[in-house]
């Protein structure tokens, strides 16, 4: 059974979103996603200042099995890509919700609230996918 912390929001494409105290959000891939990918060998994170629309690919995670895009859960401007992942991509495998964060994002001002999943909803999705 995958680890799905209850205080985070999720996407159908297996990203997690954490709202930080300064209003920015932190984004990564879920424990389920890292498990499906296998040992990560390379991660490409976005540069600060890049503007993203919701659903736009912003990072590439490459494992011994596959390389996959990671999609922006919400629109906004990148404030930071996780610099530690260049040297230590396996942090995503060992700590997907902590040291394995991919980027921090300042959400675009207004607009419709994005349709993110709750932990319970994501848990159900993973169960349906056989995870």
């Amino acid at each position: 059974m995958s680890n799905v912390p209850s205080d985070l929001k999720y996407t159908k494409s297996h990203e997690w979103v954490r709202t930080l105290s300064d209003g920015t959000v932190e984004v990564g891939i879920t424990d389920h996603a890292q498990h499906a990918l296998g040992d990560l060998v390379f991660v490409e994170v976005p540069e600060a200042g890049r503007k993203l629309t919701a659903g736009e690919p912003f990072a590439v995670v490459e494992s011994v099995k596959a390389a996959s895009d990671v999609y922006a859960p919400i629109a906004g401007e990148v404030t930071e890509g996780n610099p530690a992942l260049a040297a230590e991509p396996e942090a995503i495998n060992s700590d997907a919700y902590g040291k394995g964060w991919l980027m921090r994002l300042r959400p675009a001002a207004a607009g419709a609230a994005p349709a993110l999943l709750t932990a319970a909803e994501y848990q159900k999705l993973v169960a349906e996918e056989g995870g």
């Binding site: 060998v41 390379f42 490409e44 540069e47 490459e62 494992s63 099995k65 596959a66 390389a67 895009d69």
Partner: protein, 457 residues
């Protein structure tokens, strides 16, 4: 012989399994106006005997001329052992070596090829080859766009001293993918990038600068200054180089303070015959930081389960059989046979042998230009040093002159007027180590004869 092993029943079973009625239905998404339908203008098939005879007749039409044309393909001596080894059955029929346990010989050869190319260009990593020099430049431009994350413009600066065919191929391959190739003017006095041509780009978002060394005119660009200019502005540098020249010239990895980011070129001079224009092969090397954006196969050295050294394809996650539409390129198989010849050629020549070839080619070209410019009405077009080709200006129309020379058994060079009309009546000439002093004298004598006759007419 049937090349497709599937029986009618196999095909029906496969279609039924995916729920499609016919093979034609698989192509439904391609609009009718984009389909070719029947092939027109293709003659009836010929038997092996008939095609052999036809090709022999065509080959005879070429005659055995003395060739003084370079312009991207160079006639070098190829030791007999090169193709004797390259055409051994083990190499001749080898295909992409997915199955490492059954392909150690091919993989080791490709690994050695990569090692040699990385060493020649002074860069960290090499792929296992591309189609040819022109498409390699196009791939390098696409790679630079992926690798340069500080730039968002997809603008590539390409001097007009880069081979015209390369520029055309790059636009054809990458133009529809949004890349914009902007041509830099050249100086008609020294045949190099115009000093100051870059100034107008200061402060603009440019992705990469292409530098060909030696350039299309055989001349040496100021690579150190150009490379540093680019790097100071977060512009990546794509070097287009002749592999033979690297035995003498500074390798791209040592250009300027940082070195070029990517080097590509035409591999034909390394053991591949001119052969009416192909097949040839392209090569590509890069700095390690860009390796994941590099297209094509990469062979790596590793150990097996028992700890024994071995070779295998590596970094395949970049490739299309894994990454599908987002792969670094659509290159699936490399020019294996030609790469085999090149690897054997380089190992037979060694660094000292390649250096002798380069030095002899340079000396022969100087001798050629000296002999030709002693002919009245012929002068050297550009000032300054050249590697193994050079441009000469002639005071008569070049096209008919080349025809007269060809009728007398001499391929006199490339008429520059098609791509560089502003140069007037000009010819790009080349002599490699395959030309003797007697060959060069003969060209000069026949040229003088032709020009005398043209003036008398």
């Amino acid at each position: 012989m049937a090349f497709i092993p599937h029986t009618r029943e196999d095909v029906a079973a496969m279609l039924a399994a995916i729920g499609v009625g016919s093979i034609e239905e698989l192509f439904d998404e391609i609009p009718a106006n984009l389909r070719l339908g029947a092939l027109s203008g293709v003659p009836e098939s010929l038997s092996e005997m008939e095609i052999g005879r036809l090709m022999a007749e065509r080959a005879r039409l070429d005659g055995r001329p003395l060739c003084f044309i370079g312009a991207g393909a160079y006639e070098h001596h190829i030791p007999a052992a090169v193709w004797a080894i390259a055409t051994r059955g083990e190499f001749y029929s080898a295909y992409t070596p997915y199955q490492a346990e059954a392909s150690q010989g091919t993989l080791q050869l490709l690994y050695e090829f990569q090692t040699m190319m990385a060493s020649l260009t002074g860069l960290d990593v090499s792929n296992a080859s591309l189609y040819d020099g022109a498409s390699a430049m196009a791939e390098a431009s696409l790679m630079a766009v992926r690798a340069n994350r500080k730039s968002h413009s997809q603008r590539i600066l390409v001097p007009s001293t880069v081979h015209p065919h390369y520029r055309k191929a790059a636009r054809a391959v990458a133009g529809n993918q949004g890349l914009v190739f902007e041509e830099l003017p050249y100086c008609t006095e020294d045949g190099r990038i115009l000093p100051g041509a870059l100034e107008r780009y200061d402060g603009q978002d440019i992705t990469a600068l292409v530098i060909q060394q030696p350039n299309f005119f055989g001349r040496l660009e100021d690579v150190d200054t150009l490379c540093d200019w680019a790097h100071a502005r977060n512009i990546l540098v794509v070097a287009v180089v002749n592999p033979t020249s690297l035995a003498l010239l500074k390798p791209p990895g040592s250009w300027g303070t940082k070195g070029a980011d990517i080097a590509v070129g035409e591999g034909q001079p390394l053991g591949v015959p001119l052969s009416s224009g192909g097949p040839y092969f392209g090569f590509m090397t890069a700095r390690m930081e860009h390796v994941r954006q590099m297209p094509g196969r990469i062979v790596g050295r590793t150990v097996d389960a028992a700890g024994r050294a071995g070779f295998t394809l590596t970094l395949q996650a970049r490739e299309q059989h894994i990454r599908r539409a987002k792969a670094t390129s659509n290159i699936c198989t490399n020019q294996g046979l030609l790469v085999t010849a090149a690897t054997v050629y380089l190992s037979l020549m060694g660094p000292a042998g390649l250096e002798r070839v380069a030095a002899a080619s340079h000396a022969r070209t100087r001798e050629l230009v000296g002999a030709l410019t002693r002919v009245p009405g012929v002068r050297r077009l550009f000032r300054g040093p050249a590697f193994h080709e050079d441009a000469i200006a002639i005071d008569r129309p070049v096209a008919p002159l080349l025809e007269t020379l060809a009728a007398r058994g001499i391929v006199g060079g490339l008429d520059l007027s098609e791509h560089y009309p502003q140069l007037g009546q000009a010819l790009l000439v080349c002599a490699t180590e395959t030309k003797t002093s007697a060959d060069i004298e003969r060209y000069a004598t026949v040229l003088a004869e032709c020009l005398r006759e043209a003036r008398a007419a």
